[in-house]
Every structure is written in C-alpha cells, then in structure tokens.
C-alpha cells in the first residue's frame, strides 16, 4: 500500500533511496485531474486527502451499485475492483491535507 522504499542502484549500489510508487499510488494519482494532487482538491470537488477510509469505501461502493446516484463517479467506481477501492481508501486516508492552489497567470 505505502510506497516501498527501495534503493536506486544505477552505478554503484546502494546510491539513492527512492520511494517507488506502487500500483495503488499510481492509480490514485489518476484521480488528481478532478480531485487534485494526492486528493487535495483545488476546488469544486471533494477533498479526498485524509478522508476516513471506511467512508471513502462506502461512497465508492454506493457509486458502483447505484445506491448513490452520480453523473461521472459511477463510471470510475464500476471500473475498479473491490481490492483497488480498498487500496484507494487506505491511500487517501493517509494523505496529509494541504491547501491546493491554482497556477498563477503570467505577469
């Protein structure tokens, strides 16, 4: 679940300690288009960072079954396995809440 700490062994191992993102981290990052980096929304959508894992899981399962009506979230929930939903729930629950900002317009 958590990014594994692994050792970057390019030239003469061990050189660098790098956090290699795993399956769930990479999958979770694809939610960023609507929910911000690591679930810290820049506005208009729920902040997922720091959300209680069981609450997240319930919402996603309800989107999946249709118990909670939605426009686009059903499309995403239905495409994920239960294990992935559990993994995402844990991932987002562990993300610190940070204010997200919009990039500045050039001066």
């Amino acid at each position: 679940m958590l990014s594994r700490l692994i050792v970057l062994g390019l030239l003469c191992a061990p050189l660098l300690v790098v956090a290699e993102p795993d399956h769930i981290t990479t999958l979770a990052s694809s939610c960023a288009a609507c929910h911000g980096t690591n679930g810290n929304s820049a506005g208009g959508t729920p902040v997922l960072a720091g959300l209680d894992a069981s609450h997240f899981r319930k919402q996603m399962q309800d989107f999946k079954s249709g118990a909670r009506p939605s426009t686009v979230m059903q499309r995403h929930a239905k495409g994920l396995t239960d294990a992935e939903i559990d993994g995402l729930a844990l991932f987002f629950s562990q993300q610190p809440r940070r204010p997200a900002s919009l990039p500045a317009h050039p001066r």
């Binding site: 660098l16 300690v17 290699e20 990479t26 999958l27 288009a33 495409g79 997200a100 919009l102």
Partner: protein, 423 residues
Amino acid sequence: MNLNRRDFMRFSASAAALTLLPLSGCARALRTQASPRVVVIGGGYAGATAAKYLRMWSAGAVEVIVIEPNPSFISCPLSNLVLGGSKTLADLTFGYDGLQQHGIQRVQDTVTAVDPLARKLQLTRGELRYDKLVIAPGVDFIYDSLPMLDSAEASQQVPHAWKAGPQTVLLQQQLAAMPDGGVFVMSVPKAPYRCPPGPYERVCQVASYFSQHKPKAKIIVLDANPEITSKKALFTKVWAEMYAGMIDYRPNSQLTEVDVAAREVKTEFETVSADVLNVIPPQRAGKVAQLVGAANVDKRWCEVDFLSYASKVVPDTYIVGDSVSAALPKSAHMATSQARVCASAILATLAGQQPDPQPVFANTCYSFVNARMAMHVAHVYRYDQHKKIMLPAEGGGVSAQPSEQEGQYAYSWAQNIWSDVLT
C-alpha cells in the same frame, strides 16, 4: 529556473540534491556522481506531469529538466469557450513557476536533434546529456494532401486553432467580424486526432455565440469520418434541440482542395464556400518524435510498451501524451495518466525494479455545449496482460444529457488538472 549557456556546462559536473548513503563501500566515488538525469521534451499536459511526479515520487533524488519553447502554458481544454465568448485566452494561460518549487529545471528552447545512443540532445543554444528521455511534444499537423495550408500566411487566413494560443484568438476575431447570415465551415480530419469530441464541442460553442450575436449565421461541418466520432447521440440531440436549423453536418467529407484566398473548399462531392473557414488538419506525433525515429507506426504515431511508455524502437526513450499510438482518446487527462505511469516506471527502472505489471487509470473528458452546460465521456482503462494494451473496463460511458451540474464539474476538472500539472 531558466538555464543559460554556462549552466549547460555545469550540468554534467553537478551532483546536486543527492541523498547519499554514507554506508556504502564506494561512498567516496559516489559523491562525485551526479544523480540520474531525466530530460523531458515538452512542457504540455504530459511533459509537465511526468516532470512533477518524477520529482515528487523520487523525493527529489532524480534530476529533471523540462525543455519547452513557450514562455507559458496555454490550455487547449476550455479553449473552445474562447470562441463561445465565455472565456478569454488569458484565463487559460499560466506561468511555469510552479514547476520550480519541485526543483524542476526549465529550459526555454526547442530540441532540434537527439542522439539516443550517445544519450545526448541538441538545443538551439547548446547540448544536453541525459540518462532517460521523455518525449511529450503533442501533435504535428500533416499537410501532405493540403499543401496550400502549410504556410504562416495561409494559417492567418484559414486558422486551425487546434493548438491553443494566437490561432484561437484569430478564429474568435474572424467569427466576431463575420456578418450575420454568414457561413462558418469547419473541417474535421479522419480519426485518430487530438481530442475526439473537441471539434463537435467547437461547433456547439460557435453555435452558442451565433445564437446570441448572429442568429442568421450557419455552420457547415465537413467531417472526414463516417459519423461523429465521440458522444454522437448527445451532440446530435444538442444540435437539433438547442441550435435547431443552424448546423448542417456532412459525414464522409474529406477535403481534397482548399482555395485559401477565396475560403472555398472541395470534397469528393461538392464545393463549399465559407465566410470563416477552420480546417483542423490531420495529425501525427510531434516533430521531435519523428526526428528521433520513435514515430514508427504508419510514420505517424509512437509505439510504446504500455507498462512504462518506453519506445519500442528507441532506447532509453519514453513517449507520453498525444504522440502515443494507442486505441485511447488523445486527451489531456489521458496524457497526464500516461505520464504518471511512465514516471512510476522510470523510477522503478532506475532502481533496478520491474514497473507495475498491471497499470490502471481513468480518463474523463467533458464537452461544453454552451457557456454553462457540459457532458462527459469517462472510462477506467486497465492493462490487458494477453493483448499488452490498455482496454476500457466495465462501467464506462457518457452522460445521460448535458447539465449545469456537469458544467460545474467540468470547470472543477480544469482547475484541478491545472493545479496538479503546474503547481
């Protein structure tokens, strides 16, 4: 940070931001070694995302340099709304300063040559070495069948407006100057092209502008495809109900000739005259992808390994975004999803590990039908271990109808993707 010529020289010697492990027996030798360097060509949706996540996920252990000729980022998503009148180009233009906070170095230049065996690339101002190369140049236009459009003058008379920027403003100005009762003609190239629903969203935006300001104006869509390529039922309904009598859609209408000065086009069947003419040209992988020999599919698109986005033909080279050959929509969300899988795989490879064997990601594309209402197409895509490609998972699809609620979501999508890519 912008780099000057002297910085290029210093790059190879610098060993900045290393997390050295002093335990290693060869620690002394290591101290003089630079961290692995990834050079990213193109600071658009795919390139900027790859750069940010490479830095974020490696906690700064990998040196990342982005090469981008433009001084700022201009978003294609929402650029059709400039034609509709509800957005300005300034609303869609952002600085690159946010990348600096991640320790990404930005070089404002164009890559003119790549030597993949020597892992070296040529800029107009110098030379750069890399360990891994990410190519994210977006699309290049193909003018082989319409050579009369291939000049700066022609693009002033007949804009493509398919790379957001001055072209978008030009098309908007031409529409504003068009008399009421005039005819806007738009040509759609054969798929695959950047943003499948984009041309039809553009028709909605121009129709929305005409309904308010030039109610007698007409729109003729000459589509090289046999039918609307995305959200067909939704667009058909919107055109019939919201813009009744304004839009004349003609399928199987590939352009064979353009009279630039007269703004007149020919298809196999007919000649059509326009007051404002917008030809969206056929597309292929960005020039630099062709240059390096990565565009090996029909000499147009780049074949990649979908576990890493490594080029199938060029070593140490990864392709992300619109340049990739795939049965996937060429969208900004898709470009960022690919870029993150690629960043993850590059870090795994640098660490001597295998990339995630089963990547999964999402794509959502909104189209605005007027200033406030939008509709989606969304899918989760999952790696198929037998076919070795990304396939849509169960449950994907399109909106039941456009709505203001989805218009709000579409704006949130834009704000969040800009925040994710550029801060």
